[in-house]
């Protein structure tokens, strides 16, 4: 499983088709992966477990999300005003 995820990360080109978000508007795809990355990070850091799997979410959101959104959400998280549940 760990080799799979490593392989997947090495062979990464761009975010693959996600059947949860089949339509043209990919906003939710970006939003969900951004949330999943930071939620995953929070949970795995607390447990002290290897955090390689969460890199997948990071790669996906970095591929999909407009940079301005990432910057806005990052500064909201710093200020404590991020509206999503982390």
């Amino acid at each position: 499983m760990a080799e799979d995820i490593q392989q997947k990360l090495e062979q990464y080109r761009t975010a693959p088709f996600d059947a949860r978000f089949p339509n043209q508007n990919q906003t939710r795809n970006c939003w969900q992966n951004y949330l999943d990355y930071y939620r995953c990070q929070k949970v795995l850091d607390a447990k002290g477990v290897d955090t390689a799997p969460e890199l997948w979410y990071k790669r996906v959101y970095k591929s999909l999300c407009p940079l301005s959104w990432i910057e806005k959400w990052d500064s909201q998280r710093e200020d404590g005003t991020f509206p999503g549940k982390l």
């Binding site: 906003t27 939710r28 949330l35 959104w69 509206p83 999503g84 549940k85």
Partner: protein, 261 residues
């Protein structure tokens, strides 16, 4: 002497449509003047003219129908169609606001936190005052039906009592809503939640006030012996309008207060 050979009502020339149109113009342009030049004079003038037009126009209709006998069965049928069409148009008016609410709440955007209610919004508890309001309006639906049956059975005292009770329940609803508005932890400026909540419930409240006024006019007319057990369309129109207001509240309650929390 020429008499009409038909049962319809050819209305005498009247100035009220013109004053009504002028009033509408003054109110709308007055609104724009208020927004840009901080003066409420034109708008207030328009409002006063509107109220005068409404008072005099409807007074004339009452004179034509109740005192001069122009409201024959075909004429009354036309008035019924008119009221039904008007209420239907109001249904579509509210449908728009429900559309807006569901558009924003079924697929909440990231700006809201991807959830409904949005992050940071504390919605009102649907099982507190809103539930009481539901009970009040449902009860008022019962009392207005009681009033109708009393009219049809020629029971003068019961009609007056049940109609007065209906109006009191309407006032109670308005007072409770006003208190809720004052005490609410969110305002109309609080994102799309605040906008959809206060515009939808606000227009509903305005319709409750209009409906209560209509019923109050019916009460005054009832006291002055205008209605007969066979012919009391003014009251029926008010009762239809009141039931419509009640139904809109039920949809508001289930959608915005209950599901939306």
């Amino acid at each position: 002497m020429a008499h009409q050979a038909h049962a319809y009502h050819m209305v005498d020339p009247s100035p009220w449509p013109l004053t009504g149109a002028i009033a509408a113009l003054l109110m709308t342009s007055g609104l724009a003047i208020w927004f840009h030049f901080h003066s409420t004079m034109l708008m207030t003038l328009g409002l006063v003219l509107t109220l005068l037009t409404m008072y005099q126009w409807w007074r004339d209709i009452i004179r034509e129908g109740t005192f001069q006998g122009h409201h024959t069965p075909p004429v009354q049928k036309g008035l019924r169609y008119g009221m039904i069409l008007f209420i239907t148009s109001e249904v579509f008016f509210f449908l728009g606001f429900f559309w807006a609410f569901y558009h924003s709440s079924l697929a909440p955007t990231p700006e809201l936190g991807g959830c409904w209610p949005p992050t940071g919004i504390i919605p009102l508890d649907p099982f507190e005052v809103p539930l009481l309001n539901t009970a009040v309006l449902l009860a008022s639906g019962v009392t207005v039906t009681w009033a109708h049956h009393s009219i049809m059975e020629g029971e003068r005292k019961q009609t007056i009592q049940s109609l007065a009770l209906t109006i009191l329940l309407g006032f109670y609803f308005t007072a409770l809503q006003a208190m809720e508005y004052y005490e609410a932890p969110f305002t109309i400026a609080d994102g799309v939640y605040g906008s959809t909540f206060f515009v939808a419930t606000g227009f509903h409240g305005l319709h409750v006030i209009i409906g209560s006024t209509f019923l109050a006019v019916c009460l005054l007319r009832q006291i002055q012996y205008h209605f007969t057990s066979e012919h009391h369309f003014g009251f029926e129109a008010a009762a239809w309008y009141w039931h419509f207001v009640d139904v809109v509240w039920l949809f508001l309650y289930v959608s915005i207060y209950w599901w939306g929390s």
